[in-house]
Symmetry: C2
Amino acid sequence: MIRIALDVMGGDFAPHEILKGAQETLKKVPDLSLVLVGPEEVLRSFPASSRAERVPAPEWVSMEESPSEALRKKPRASIRKALELLKAGEVQAVVSAGNSGATYAGALFVLGRLPGVRRPAIATVLPTLKRPAVLIDAGANVDCKPIHLLQFGYMGALFAEKILGIPYPRVGILSIGEEGGKGNFLVKRAHTLLSQSDLNFVGNLEGRQIYLGEAEVIVCDGFVGNICLKVSEGVAEAVTEMLKMEVKKDPLALLGFSLARKALRRFKKRTDWREYGGAPLLGVNGVVIIGHGRSDALAIKNALLVAKKFIETQLVERLSEALKQEKAQKNQALQ
Amino acid sequence: MIRIALDVMGGDFAPHEILKGAQETLKKVPDLSLVLVGPEEVLRSFPASSRAERVPAPEWVSMEESPSEALRKKPRASIRKALELLKAGEVQAVVSAGNSGATYAGALFVLGRLPGVRRPAIATVLPTLKRPAVLIDAGANVDCKPIHLLQFGYMGALFAEKILGIPYPRVGILSIGEEGGKGNFLVKRAHTLLSQSDLNFVGNLEGRQIYLGEAEVIVCDGFVGNICLKVSEGVAEAVTEMLKMEVKKDPLALLGFSLARKALRRFKKRTDWREYGGAPLLGVNGVVIIGHGRSDALAIKNALLVAKKFIETQLVERLSEALKQEKAQKNQALQ
């Protein structure tokens, strides 16, 4: 039985939507048990069962708090407690939709990094017109050095290969203009390092090419990566909203859309970020899944399923093994 | 009669689509004359008229060339010649869909900056669910200092106020997380400067908030701004494509969509970047409009219309005047 710790105080809609998501997951996924971590008075409302353990943590980190300060001042915060359960081997993964900076800082502090990794990073799977692609880093490291981007390339490629099952994935770097000479200081220098690596490096990618599916791994710093994700969500929402507005003006179009109901539902599912679950924090010593801050019950269920998949596919062990091999092969790149 | 110089060699689809766009514009807009700049053999195909002058330039800058090198090695390039016509007062604006780095470098060299401006920047108008918003810088300056971002805020606000007619526009800085403490080094320091300014500064904006219309001016460095634009285009295209794919699977949905034809056409127009024309390079001493690299005839026509509007509304004079006032009021911020 797989056991996952869930931070019930993480996210804009915590604890209500988190608990609801937990309940729905337990109902639908039989071979999974949850350890709910949060204040006693919150947990009390959750029906106890053999598959739902409740571990009290009297404090929690809000979305606005400074991660390093929260880590120092709140040793009994729910996310910290959840990570400690993982460290102690009592659970196999942690899921939190809370303050991602605090989850990152806590994971570094409690679990530590895999050998050879300088900066763990958030890897998000994006839908494209072809295969799904991995964007790394999606927000853990806002200021990066070229060597960090090289490592993100290695971790992202391993993830795409071992978890998504894409052999020899194409790795690109998010930039402006396709030519290698284009980009900011960081990207130009990272481009040189990536070109010299043995990755299947395809050079600069423009924002447009991500969604055309022109690479399976997209490397960027966490500032650019997070903006890229949030802009994507915003555009998808705005485009859908504009479509609705135009259709509402016109009775014939309204009728037409009611005929297309099923196709529209499939479309909505395909463009809804909640369907893609959480994003793993790659490079720490354990399965840590970062959920979207605006997670509702559906998003939490999908984040838990992602965690389950990563446990089953032995993500961390494989990554650790692959990093060791990389290290043996070239003592330069990952040191 | 307004006279605009058009670089016929600029853009992925030059010269064919550029010439086609010129021809369509002349047909539809009577109070406009064009000066077409490009190699003689290309211009020869264009029907001469009292409203279409042809100025030969034997060289041109390709999309891949290094801007500074092109500027040095090709003194007779079409974009350079067009800018010289503007400098000499023979035209009132320049439009080019070519290598935007070369247009930027050429404009700096030939026209110079308005007094007080450190870095001219590209201001792009974005559609949002509320009013249009100005994103500045959309790609001219890939590596910026905090003071540059402050100036972009001033130029963007003047543009929103004087050209878009939005009094006291809200200015936000593109970042990750809404709180002031979040962002990379550059954004955190620019946030401090913007907070101390007399702009209507609303703090950090997440990518999602751009399209919700939560500010009228969005400040960012040109690297992030350009990625933001290209990602937006990519998502809008991908979402539309996914919708088509789902509808095609289902005959009933196909029928429904044929009923909604008109609404879909309005929607397409609203989300099509080509409808929004070109983006002005703010802060140089003249009206320079940068068209999208993938411009077709329609996009060129709209870029020419944008140039015309900027001439009519005396964009550069107003900006220059406003900058002088700003400078008089606070000798700090714009120096």
